[in-house]
């Protein structure tokens, strides 16, 4: 299926399941704390 196929979740049977899966990714991304620390380090380094 390849990388794109995996990312597009072609194994999900319907749009609702796929949509709910993506909402899970939104929550995961929004709550990622390491990213904030990484951004602060980036800003100190480049600021």
């Amino acid at each position: 299926m390849g990388y794109l196929g995996q990312m597009l979740k072609l194994d999900k049977e319907n749009d609702e399941d796929a949509g709910n899966y993506f909402v899970g990714l939104i929550n995961q991304s929004k709550n990622e704390k390491f990213r904030l620390l990484d951004n602060m380090i980036h800003n100190i380094k480049h600021g």
């Binding site: 072609l10 993506f22 939104i26 991304s29 990213r35 990484d38 602060m40 800003n43």
Partner: protein, 218 residues
Amino acid sequence: MLIFNKLSGDDLRQDVLVLQMLKIMDKMWIDSNLDLKIVAYKVLPTGMKEGFIEFVRASVIDKLQQNEGVSGALDRELLLKHLRNMGIDPKSQGLRYNPDNQIFNFVRSLAGFCVATCILGIGDRHPGNVMVKDNGIFFHIDYGHFLGNFKYKFGIKRERAPFLLTPDMAHVYSKKGLEEDFKNYCKKAFNILRKNASRLMNLFIIMSTAGINNIFIN
């Protein structure tokens, strides 16, 4: 307007490929009546590690954060304040942009780039690689890492989330009560790409013989 890039030494063919994929995704979305205000600037490689990149007038988000000091990355109001400031003409103090349109542009373009960068596995995402135009349109730049080829720093994988969505970005749609709209744009965009999966995959298969790093047929 064009600028010449030789400093980073990136293989600009990879940027061209990602930007072409973005344009194709945008067309799929527009054909399904979903305008996510995608910015896909022009890139023209002229050699192995040099070429021209279209200049797009916009603010880099790390500069906005750095203007606020060390804690700028933690300021949830930052983007909303920036959009508000950019919406006002400094001379006349009148409105340059309708604030509702700015937020509308931001939320739609953010949704589009969340979906596109997730599917294409764009790596090295930090505030220096995302920009926002004065009219609210948000976009990513520098596509040197893609298809899940993520960067490591001190042995730690930098990309721990599927895509870049920081609290200051989420605050723009949350504060305006547009969280459900944002999610719906993402869900709709994701499902449109799923329906066109074979077209997207075939384009990568065609490019797999071009010798660009990270592309292989799996």
